[in-house]
């Protein structure tokens, strides 16, 4: 059984669920470990400058009517650009302290990037479209194999906390995640346009230009995320708070749905967990509901998530946007860290967009990075002893963002 791919994502509102099986079918790297040291290809690609694409171009590639030329332009760009960016990711990993690089989780992701680079690199040499289809398949493969990079890295860095100072780690992760968003955007846009071209769908009705939805209705996305997180919460705690959505609910704007989903899921996870745990801690019989409010401003849309989860005290507040900082008590602190397989299996069951309800400490920094990617913002206000208000502001992806470079 394979999970629903990202392409059918918007038609089937089911978040991809992972099976334990997926990760372990990849063949281990068969070359000797020292191979990377002598690999000139990486260095050659790293030396090339990054050619950023503006958001406008990305959208324009897929502007209706989607022509063969437009699609070709997009694919061409992806062929030449992606290997460069992947090579840089590999290089970044190579810059980590040696001991960190030997951590199995981190090594796994490093290998993944290396393999992806090698698999895509061969397509950057020719410029005709004969192997576009093959290239498309490779892209899909890239996207699906890298889906759970973040939780894996999170786990890895958690284990490496003592070997790296937090500033270096934060710099690495910021860089990595920012680049990852860009790589995926380009790849997914390309895949999506290929698919649209093949299916020759009428873009006007759909509102989609590749993975960008020009008629995204946040209320729908919120409801969907709420359902998902609520279920997760019930599963973990046996109960879940109610959620109410109010404000300018008929708002629509242009955005990348997956991004919004990701951010909302992380924020809702925090709210749900905090609400249930605080209600229990204070002996409150009823669970206060979570209030979500939508607004449509001149320049951006706003989503406010208001909970009564007890808030965050000042000390924690200072670290709340740091990687690997979590207020969740680690339940298996005394577990054997070398018990890699058990942990990986556990993670595999729970990771992905619908990851563990909390605990890896990556939720907020990640959500913020996604929010900021297109010029938005994420602000947390804490009334310690009462609850938190989280303000998510997202800009409409439109003409004014034409200069934004991916």
């Amino acid at each position: 059984m394979h999970r629903a791919s990202l392409l059918t994502f918007r038609h089937v509102w089911v978040l991809p669920r992972r099976t334990a099986q997926r990760h372990f079918t990849s063949k281990p790297l068969e070359r000797p470990a020292g191979h990377a040291f002598y690999d000139d290809k990486i260095i050659a690609y790293v030396k090339r400058p990054i050619k950023p694409v503006t958001l406008q171009q990305l959208v324009r590639f897929g502007q209706p009517p989607l022509s063969k030329e437009g699609l070709h332009e997009c694919t061409q760009y992806a062929r030449t650009e992606l290997p460069v960016r992947l090579a840089r990711r590999v290089r970044a990993f190579q810059g980590l302290p040696f001991i960190v690089g030997t951590n199995p989780y981190i090594k796994e992701i490093y290998k993944l990037y290396y393999e992806s680079f090698e698999s895509l690199e061969q397509y950057s040499h020719n410029t005709d479209s004969t192997d576009d289809h093959e290239f498309g398949e490779k892209l899909k493969d890239l996207v699906s194999r890298h889906t759970d990079n973040i939780p894996t890295l999170a786990r890895g860095f958690l284990e490496c906390k003592q070997y790296m100072n937090s500033q270096d780690m934060a710099a690495f992760l910021d860089d990595m995640i920012h680049a990852r968003i860009g790589i995926r955007l380009i790849a997914e846009q390309c895949i999506s346009l290929m698919h649209q071209h093949k299916a020759s769908e009428n873009l006007h009705e759909d509102g989609y230009i590749g993975i960008i939805d020009t008629q995204l209705n946040p209320q729908k996305v919120i409801k969907h995320c709420v359902d998902f997180v609520s279920e997760l919460c019930e599963f973990n705690y046996g109960q879940s708070p109610e959620t109410e959505i109010d404000g300018q609910t008929s708002t629509t704007f242009t955005y990348v749905p997956v991004h919004l989903e990701y951010i909302l899921t992380e924020l809702l996870k925090n709210s749900h967990r905090a609400t249930v745990e605080y209600a229990r801690k204070t002996g409150r019989p009823d669970i206060p509901k979570i209030q979500i409010t939508l607004s449509q401003g001149r320049e951006d849309i706003g989503i406010r998530i208001r909970d009564q989860g007890g808030g965050v005290d000042e000390e924690d507040l200072n670290k709340v946007f740091e990687y690997s900082y979590t207020t969740v008590a680690s339940k298996d602190d005394n577990s054997d860290p070398s018990d890699v397989f058990r942990d990986m299996a556990e993670m595999a069951m729970q990771s992905g967009v619908g990851g563990p309800l909390a605990g890896l400490g990556f939720g907020l920094p990640l959500a913020r990075m996604y929010a900021r990617y297109f010029g938005g913002s994420l602000t947390l206000v804490s009334m310690n002893g009462y609850g938190c208000d989280v303000f998510l502001k997202l800009k409409h992806i439109n003409e004014s963002m034409s200069e934004l470079e991916i």
Binding site: R284, G297, E299, L317, N318, V381, S382, M383, G385, D389
Partner: protein, 474 residues
């Protein structure tokens, strides 16, 4: 004449305030530079910032015998604070200092300083009477400062570069210092009155009040008071402004202000009350200002029969009391929101020009309501920043978050233990911020005696002049 246009002319017409100028412009005379030495003995004393608890403790022990001693302490402390303030003025760029409004305030401060300096030491109750009369005079005169400050900032803002927030920081220091002197003054006057009346309950100095501090402020009562006053404003001034003629129909009601209290988890006692020690007038001003904005904008953006309520949530933990005011008044557009807390950024748009018609700033809500006639301007423009200065005075804060198109949330955090020292108005610089070319570090002057010495209290820190938040992270 279009007010915005007026600001762009290089020389304003003879300012209206000149008619009320009762001070000799002796500050312009050259001997003033040498007179400056009278400041020295006071400028060299550090400011003592107290905590609310210390004020309460000190005030509880007040009696006629101790009053004289306390009066002398107040006299000296006022002189010290004024001296530091004057010195801060003297560090302003010369160009700014020549602005007539700034010069006027500078003159006011010197006059106050001189009057106090020349006043005698207090030894008897009669002396204290005289001292109190002087204090009342100074309080009254001091009400001229803010309107002048607003106009001065309006005219000087363009002198500074966009990223240079010196003037903002200066104004905040000035406001903080001003509040600190008023607190000292009003407290002494209140304690004097209490002593004269033998702490008579009927005078309002019964259980709970220590001068202007009330040890049993009730969150609900304070919000309730602000709301009642606001209802009157809404029915008169706001209604006429937004819906035309007065009076409103009998079935009309102003926007509802709903209060929800959330006492600390597991706290015993009445769950309907949150009690703490504070200066109620300060909190009333803050909440009145915020609620006023909420009600005003709710009325502006909704039909009179369908006002969405303004929701106030009060919560408390071990150290703080929180007031959250959420409205659906349409929110604040980004351009305005980004400049909400900067006097410099707002001045060029003519935001403070209404102060031309205001000679004296109201010092409490009742005075404010009196002055705020139905025909007058809707707002003067300083309410929010002033409220924030008040909130930060005892270590609290005021933050505003907005959702453009929907509404605004205001968060007020008030420390409830009374253990935070007064925020007097002198930012502390950090060593790695001492890089501005105008100033040198103290150790540098030892090696280079010709290097400019700096006043230790003049802040060199970067920043927008507001305290770091302990409730907002972005």
């Amino acid at each position: 004449m279009n007010r915005a246009l007026r600001l762009k002319t290089t020389l304003p017409a003879r300012p209206k305030f000149c008619r009320f100028l009762s001070l000799t412009p002796w500050s312009l005379k050259s001997y003033h530079f040498y007179q400056n030495k009278v400041l020295e003995p006071y400028v060299n004393q550090p400011i003592s910032a107290s905590t609310l608890r210390q004020y309460i403790f000190f005030g509880r022990q007040m009696n006629n015998k101790r009053l004289a001693k306390s009066a002398n302490w107040v006299r000296n402390e006022l002189l010290v604070r004024l001296a530091h303030r004057i010195r801060d003025f003297q560090q302003l760029p010369f160009f700014v200092g020549t602005n007539p409004h700034i010069k006027y305030i500078y003159g006011l401060y010197w006059a106050a300083f001189e009057k106090l300096r020349k006043s005698p030491q207090i030894k008897t109750m009669e002396d204290n009477q005289g001292f109190c009369t002087l204090l009342r005079q100074l309080l009254e005169e001091g009400r001229r400062v803010i309107p002048q400050m607003a106009l001065g900032v309006s005219e000087c803002a363009s002198y500074y570069a966009d990223d240079q927030q010196d003037l903002d920081r200066f104004v905040n220091r000035m406001f903080r210092s001003r509040i600190s002197r008023r607190v000292l003054t009003e407290q002494h006057l209140a304690l004097t009155e209490a002593c004269e009346n033998d702490w008579d309950e009927s005078m309002g100095f019964g259980d709970g009040y220590i001068g202007i501090i009330f040890t049993r402020c009730s969150a609900r009562a304070i919000v309730g008071k602000a709301r009642k006053l606001l209802d009157i404003q809404a029915a008169t001034k706001f209604y006429s402004h937004y819906h035309g003629k007065l009076p409103p129909p009998s079935e009309w009601k102003p926007p509802a202000v709903e209060i929800e209290l959330q006492p600390a988890a597991g706290s015993s006692g009445n769950s309907n009350e949150i009690i703490f020690a504070y200066i109620p007038e300060q909190l009333e001003q803050i909440l009145y200002e915020i609620l006023s904005n909420s009600v005003r904008f709710t009325m502006a953006n909704h039909p009179p029969h369908a006002y969405p309520p303004v929701r106030v949530t009060v919560s408390v933990n071990e150290t703080d009391v929180f007031f959250r005011v959420s409205d659906q008044g349409g929110g604040i557009p980004k351009t305005r929101f980004d400049r909400l807390w900067s006097y410099q950024a707002r001045a060029p748009d003519g935001e403070f020009l209404h102060f031309e018609d205001v000679q004296k700033m109201p010092s409490n809500i009742s005075e404010r309501l009196e002055q705020n006639t139905t025909d007058g301007p809707m707002h003067l423009g300083m309410g929010l920043p002033l409220s924030r200065v008040y909130a930060e005075y005892w270590g609290g804060e005021l933050q505003i978050m907005t959702m453009d198109g929907y509404g605004t949330d205001a968060y007020v955090r008030i420390p409830r233990l009374g253990i935070m020292a007064e925020n007097i108005g002198f930012d502390k610089f950090t060593p790695h911020q001492l890089h501005q070319h105008r100033y040198t570090r103290p150790q540098d002057t030892q090696s280079n005696p010709h290097a400019t010495k700096y006043h230790p209290d003049i802040p060199l820190a970067a920043g927008d002049g507001w305290m770091k938040s302990s409730i907002v992270r972005t």
